[in-house]
């Protein structure tokens, strides 16, 4: 390796090692992950934006929100978990037509539906599923998962209605749950079929 390159690699490696050990020691309270000079042209070929700092800022914020929600759930503080995820779905999002943003938000709505229905708030849970389905319109695991969560919400609703002695409504909720699970299975089959169609067929012998 040339000596000049050794120097560059050595300096960079030292920076990386020190950064790793001092990851949160520096104080920069004014900085915000979403503020950037946005130097890169957001344009790629075609209409899709390129992966840039704005997208990463949103993904970092989403990741932090879900980790905070995990900690709240571990402390059995469901309300705090719901609050931090509500901020994510209701908060500002980049003005980018990036599929990653839609899919992360759809997954967040699914998690909120799970948390809210576990807390007995079935109306809000259903609304979260509906919002998520608007964001995940293509047949993907994200869409299938939302239908599964809808089934779960209806199962929980049926149990609550049974406990209240509302047998007819509980029956209807169970039927909705079954429909949702079947829809989730259909979507899963579509996902597999699409994945297989992208695999090139083996060459004939």
């Amino acid at each position: 390796m040339r000596l000049a390159n050794l120097e560059v690699v050595g300096s960079l490696a030292l920076v990386l090692a020190l950064v790793g050990a001092c990851a949160d020691m520096s104080r920069d309270p004014g900085a915000d992950a979403t503020q950037s000079e946005v130097p890169m042209c957001p344009c790629g070929s075609g209409d899709a934006p390129v992966v840039d700092t704005t997208l990463l800022a949103f993904l970092s914020a989403a990741r932090s929100a879900h980790h905070k929600a995990d900690l709240s759930e571990k402390s059995e503080d469901t309300k705090a978990a719901i609050a931090v995820l509500d901020q994510l779905v209701a908060g500002p999002r980049p003005d980018l037509d990036a599929p990653e943003i839609a899919e992360v938000l759809a997954d967040t709505h699914a998690r909120l539906a799970d948390l809210r229905s576990a807390d007995g708030d079935f109306q809000s849970a259903s609304e979260h599923v509906d919002e998520g389905l608007k964001l995940a319109e293509r047949p993907t695991h994200f869409r299938g998962h939302l239908f599964e969560v809808r089934g779960l919400v209806e199962e929980r609703r049926a149990s609550a209605l049974d406990a209240d002695g509302k047998a007819d409504e509980a029956k209807r909720a169970r039927e909705l749950a079954v429909e949702s699970f079947e829809k989730a299975i259909d979507i899963q089959e579509q996902v597999i079929t699409e994945a297989l169609s992208e695999v090139p067929a083996p060459a004939p012998k």
Partner: protein
């Protein structure tokens, strides 16, 4: 990027420009001595990096001895107390009680959930406790911030290229040998992320930049998501993948040749 492609971060010298002179016998001897010191585990910088990455546990008697030494009064303080007829520790005054309360609050902050930013401590000892916690158990670095640090390091190296080459080769040899230990520590300690603080030249063709796209490719088509749980792990995976794409887009935009 494949392993056998090398990134040329420093441009080649132009025609007619003198390349690096070969190391002198003295420089070779220094490098040899450094290599021997590394093998004997006798080199301070690499030793410090190794201790940072894998610190040894202190034995309980050593911890007790350190605490006793820190807490025991000095000879001057003993003389003062004797002169004043004071036996045993004095009760804390209001200022000391207030300082203890502030430190207690700071330590309570550090026990709470860790966020992407340092805990809002207000005392010097609280700051020290936070630094010790970060040294022992560093939190993951925010992706954007890590990208900014890398951008700064590469940006400074690019502008100092000519001056760097004119420095003695000894610094290069030493830097290269220490880099071996630093890379091992850095690879395990750092989570890459991106925060833009350095200007980037927009010189790449649009077609060569990685575009935003669906994340379905990251997940096994045959494995549906679990009915409950797993959201955080999925989003972690998505963020890591796109952080790698952002790095690649930056290299392309900076014109880093492979």
């Amino acid at each position: 990027m494949s392993d056998d492609r090398k990134l040329k971060l420093v441009p080649r010298p132009k025609d007619g420009e003198a390349d690096e002179p070969p190391p002198t016998p003295e420089e070779r001897a220094e490098a040899e001595a450094l290599r021997d010191a590394l093998e004997r585990d006798d080199e301070p910088i690499s030793g410090a990096l190794r201790a940072l990455y894998r610190p040894k546990e202190l034995e309980t008697p050593e911890v007790d001895a350190l605490l006793d030494r820190a807490l025991e009064p000095s000879a001057a303080e003993v003389d003062e107390d004797d002169a004043a007829g004071i036996e045993g520790p004095m009760p804390a005054d209001d200022e000391e009680l207030e300082a203890a309360r502030e430190l207690r609050e700071d330590l309570a902050q550090l026990e709470g959930p860790r966020g992407p930013r340092p805990a809002p401590v207000s005392t010097e000892l609280g700051e020290l406790a936070e630094m010790l916690r970060a040294a022992h158990d560093p939190a993951g670095i925010d992706e954007l911030r890590n990208e900014a640090l890398i951008a700064k390091a590469l940006g400074r190296r690019a502008t100092g290229g000519h001056g760097a080459r004119r420095r003695g080769a000894l610094g290069s040899i030493v830097g290269g040998v220490v880099a071996a230990a630093a890379v091992a520590a850095g690879l395990f300690a750092v989570q890459f992320s991106a925060q833009d603080e350095a200007p980037v030249q927009v010189g790449a063709s649009a077609a060569s930049l990685i575009q935003a796209r669906s994340t379905t490719e990251l997940f096994d088509a045959a494995e549906p998501f679990p009915r409950t749980g797993g959201t955080t792990a999925r989003i972690d995976k998505i963020a890591r993948s796109r952080a790698a794409d952002l790095r690649q887009n930056r290299y392309v935009a900076w014109g880093v040749r492979e």
